[in-house]
């Protein structure tokens, strides 16, 4: 009897905290398979750094999915913002620099990239909230626009030779903690406050859960929807800046496919595609779960072709359980 109850309770916990259970399970599995080799601080640190930029994208699209939207433009918007940031951080003596011979204060690349991301967010948000375009289509269009702008702006060239100050933004560390991890923590904290402790955050959940009921409850659905895309855009701009800083360059391949990684990560992290459900903790765990899978497979020497395969299945399984969990009763 006791045993049965225990089993039932643990089952309940498992369905309620699927995200965490998956993450811890993977962690244990990996440490067993590698005799603890894979879980040294050095490796974990590398994992966190590798996933940091994606975390920004995940936080942005996570909020969007809570409102029952989607954003396909992430990859190219991050690519564009990375290029913008890089273009203002090139060494002035670099002959093929976008602004050759000119140097800018460190704040310029950051502001320019975040502003570019924000503008794209507003553009997406306006089309979706006021233009009533389906988010899938609106962001599919802006994805192509972002790509086009990036190619025009950089003339399809690599934006390289970035100055050291700019590279230090992401490459430095405070004590043993890399800067990037601190930035991620700050961003996650801000998004957590927004979602959990502000009116607007609560409205996001309401809009995703039942937009018509939200409207009747006096929520300005259009404005809130536009803002969620705007906030996401700011996060993409930040991601672009950090990515350029970390890589020391930007080109037209930078951040390609990041939208899929980010969407997959938050879905694994329990953000429901049906809208109205999702937590910051889940989004972050989702990102690191996906990272752990990549990293673990590399560590175990699994061919990268197979990694792609495994990732695909994990996304499908995560969504399958998500749909079952929140399936409306007939």
């Amino acid at each position: 009897m006791e045993m049965k109850k225990l089993l039932k309770d643990s089952k309940k916990v498992a369905t309620q905290y699927t995200t965490w259970v998956t993450f811890v399970g993977l962690l244990l599995l990996l440490s067993i398979l590698t005799n603890g080799q894979a879980l040294r601080w050095g490796s974990i640190r590398n994992l966190l750094i590798a996933e940091s930029v994606r975390s920004f994208a995940a936080l942005g699209v996570g909020m969007i999915i809570i409102t029952k939207g989607i954003d396909l433009s992430i990859g190219y918007v991050v690519c564009l913002t990375a290029s913008v940031a890089a273009s203002f951080a090139q060494n002035p003596d670099y002959s093929s620099a976008v602004y050759a011979g000119q140097s800018f204060p460190l704040i310029i690349p950051i502001v320019a990239a975040v502003a570019a991301g924000g503008l794209f967010g507003l553009f997406n948000g306006y089309l979706i909230a006021y233009g009533k375009l389906p988010p899938f289509i609106a962001t599919l269009g802006s994805m192509s626009i972002a790509k086009g702008l990036q190619l025009i702006y950089t003339k399809a060239a690599v934006v390289g030779s970035l100055n050291q100050n700019f590279k230090n933004i992401s490459q430095g560390s405070v004590g043993p903690v890399p800067n990037l991890i601190i930035y991620v923590a700050i961003a996650a904290f801000i998004v957590w406050i927004l979602l959990k402790h502000t009116r607007q955050g609560t409205h996001f959940y309401a809009i995703g859960g039942n937009a018509q009921a939200a409207r009747v409850s006096g929520i300005n659905v259009e404005r809130d929807l536009m803002m969620v895309y705007f906030y996401a855009g700011l996060l993409y701009g930040t991601a672009g800046t950090l990515l350029a800083s970390r890589l020391g360059l930007a080109n037209s391949l930078t951040a390609n496919g990041m939208e899929l990684d980010a969407i997959a990560a938050v879905t694994v992290g329990g953000v429901s595609q049906n809208g109205g459900v999702g937590k910051v903790s889940g989004m972050m765990v989702g990102v690191f779960t996906m990272g752990l899978i990549n990293y673990g497979m590399s560590f175990l020497g699994v061919d990268s072709y197979y990694q792609q395969l495994v990732k695909g299945f994990i996304i499908i399984i995560a969504v399958y359980f998500d749909m079952k969990k929140y399936a409306r009763r007939a």
């Binding site: 406050i193 402790h197 502000t198 009116r199 609560t202 409205h203 959940y205 309401a206 859960g209 039942n210 018509q212 009921a213 939200a214 409207r215 009747v216 409850s217 006096g218 929520i219 300005n220 429901s272 049906n274 109205g276 459900v277 929140y326 409306r328 009763r329």
Partner: protein
């Protein structure tokens, strides 16, 4: 005449969580007759028909067609066995043609398994011609008027060559001429020995078209009668059954000054409400009566700012409010409990606490503009306790509550916004008798506190039992306002069918 019944339903019992919707109901329908099924809303007519049509599975009971026992697993099964049904709401695919809608799910195929459009259109054409319905099979069904779409649904039901055809309020969106046309079709079905079960609230229709009438009340079958031995009064007393006043709580409120005033409100849609004016006073319940399609909900949504208006004025406490939006309405002390609880009421995946506080978040911000979760929750608990919402915890998702308790959470939500005027659109729809009475009590308390309530209701006894005055709409126009003393079923019905 054939002695076997076309349809026999015996001892049908169906229980939903907390409600016994059908209690040992027996219905026998002879072939070649029109059998009216009557009863108040919630009496169990629709549930009974859904059991017949395989949408619900009865807990107990037997269904026989022409003496042979059947058990339908779903509506597809029912259709194959010769039972078809015209639903009250349109259930077509608006973007497809008339023929495609008629043959949806049973499209004729050619030799290689592709849809035979020619055959489909030809058969539809001959069917429509046969029923004297003047529509081309190729037109997009969504481009037709609502009443013509409804007529097409009737044609569809007939096209199954069913031996039993159920019509659930088929005339609610039809004009007089169209009703006459429908009656012609029904007479033709009768000649073809089809049994027609006809659900309607309109007395005249019953007396015109039906041969027999069965009356249901509170999930039970009261009896089956020959229409020739029936009168209007007899039928109503059978339907209502007992003294109507006992079902409503006593409340004493003082009717005071005007809180909300609406002047010449017209919708941009010419088929919706036009030129409606009325006032609601402090301490008053104003009932809004009318048939389905009278545009009552549309009018309420316009007042609350969910729908656009073409012209007209809305005054709250004497001030005119321009460009109404739900947000402005709430700021001016109006709340609205919508008719469609699932569609525009609940946030299914939010808990009780958040569902309650969602419309009043503005009142719970600290200096940093962050939400005061603790106070929000305490207030939510307070309101839900006062309304006796039954829930395991405040963290329970609202989708896991019964309809009546969901409704109480939504009433709590609006009470928390401290409204002066509460619009309640079908406040007791889909709620069992006990919870209904509690909601009536809450309404009584609210008007005793000096608030005003506008209640849209399709339940006659509720309108008559709860309202101080009843305004009746018909086809979007106000056809009269009745004082308590004039509020009778007949008077309301007369006004509700004025333009029909």
């Amino acid at each position: 005449m054939d002695t076997t019944f076309a349809l026999e339903m015996e001892g049908i019992t169906k229980t939903f969580p907390g409600v016994k919707a059908l209690d040992e109901v027996t219905l026998r329908v002879k072939p070649g007759t029109v059998h009216a099924l009557m009863g108040e809303n919630g009496a169990g007519k629709s549930t009974l028909m859904k059991c017949l049509f395989g949408i619900y599975q009865e807990d107990r009971g037997i269904i026989k067609l022409k003496g042979k026992e059947h058990r339908f697993k779903d509506s597809h099964d029912a259709l194959n066995q010769g039972v078809s049904m015209i639903h009250q709401e349109l259930s077509n695919v608006p973007e497809r043609s008339v023929a495609e809608n008629l043959y949806l799910g049973r499209e004729p195929l050619n030799k290689i398994g592709l849809i035979d459009h020619k055959k489909m259109n030809d058969e539809t054409r001959s069917l429509l011609e046969n029923l004297e319905i003047n529509v081309k099979p190729e037109v997009r069904i969504g481009s037709l008027s609502i009443s013509m779409q409804q007529t097409c649904e009737i044609a569809k039901a007939v096209s199954y060559n069913a031996s039993v055809v159920v019509m659930d309020e088929p005339t609610s969106s039809l004009t007089d001429n169209e009703v006459q046309h429908l009656f012609k079709i029904i007479n033709r079905l009768r000649e073809q020995n089809v049994a027609v079960i006809y659900i309607s609230h309109k007395m005249e229709e019953i007396f015109t078209i039906a041969d027999e009438v069965s009356v249901m009340r509170d999930g039970q079958m009261i009896g089956t009668y020959d229409v020739t031995e029936m009168t209007n009064e007899k039928l109503i007393s059978l339907m209502v059954g007992r003294d109507a006043t006992l079902r409503f709580p006593e409340f004493k409120s003082k009717v005071g000054e005007v809180l909300l005033k609406v002047e010449n409100l017209s919708s941009p849609n010419p088929r919706s409400f036009q030129d409606v004016s009325f006032e609601v006073h402090r301490g008053e319940i104003l009932g809004i009566g009318g048939l389905v399609g009278a545009q009552r909900t549309e009018l309420m949504e316009a007042i609350f700012g969910v729908r656009a208006i073409r012209e007209g004025k809305i005054y709250v406490d004497g001030d005119e409010i321009l460009n109404m939006t739900p947000r402005k309405a709430i700021e001016h002390g109006i709340g609205m409990i919508t008719e469609d609880r699932r569609g525009s009421g609940i946030f299914p995946l939010m808990d009780i606490s958040n569902n309650t506080s969602i419309a009043s978040l503005k009142e719970y911000l600290n200096k940093l503009h962050l939400l005061k979760h603790k106070e929000m929750k305490e207030e939510s608990v307070r309101y839900n306790k006062a309304l006796r919402t039954k829930t395991p915890t405040m963290e329970t998702l609202i989708q896991n509550l019964s309809g009546g308790n969901q409704q109480k959470v939504i009433i709590s939500r609006w009470l928390m916004t401290l409204p002066d005027v509460l619009i309640m659109d079908e406040p007791t729809r889909g709620i069992d008798v006990g919870a209904k009475y509690e909601i009536y009590q809450i309404m009584g308390q609210l008007v005793e506190q000096g608030k005003a309530i506008i209640m849209v209701s399709s339940e006659m006894p509720e309108l008559i039992g709860m309202s101080h005055r009843v305004m009746v709409l018909c086809s979007g126009k106000c056809t009269g306002v009745l004082d308590k003393s004039e509020c009778t079923q007949e008077n309301i019905m007369r006004l509700a069918t004025k333009f029909m």
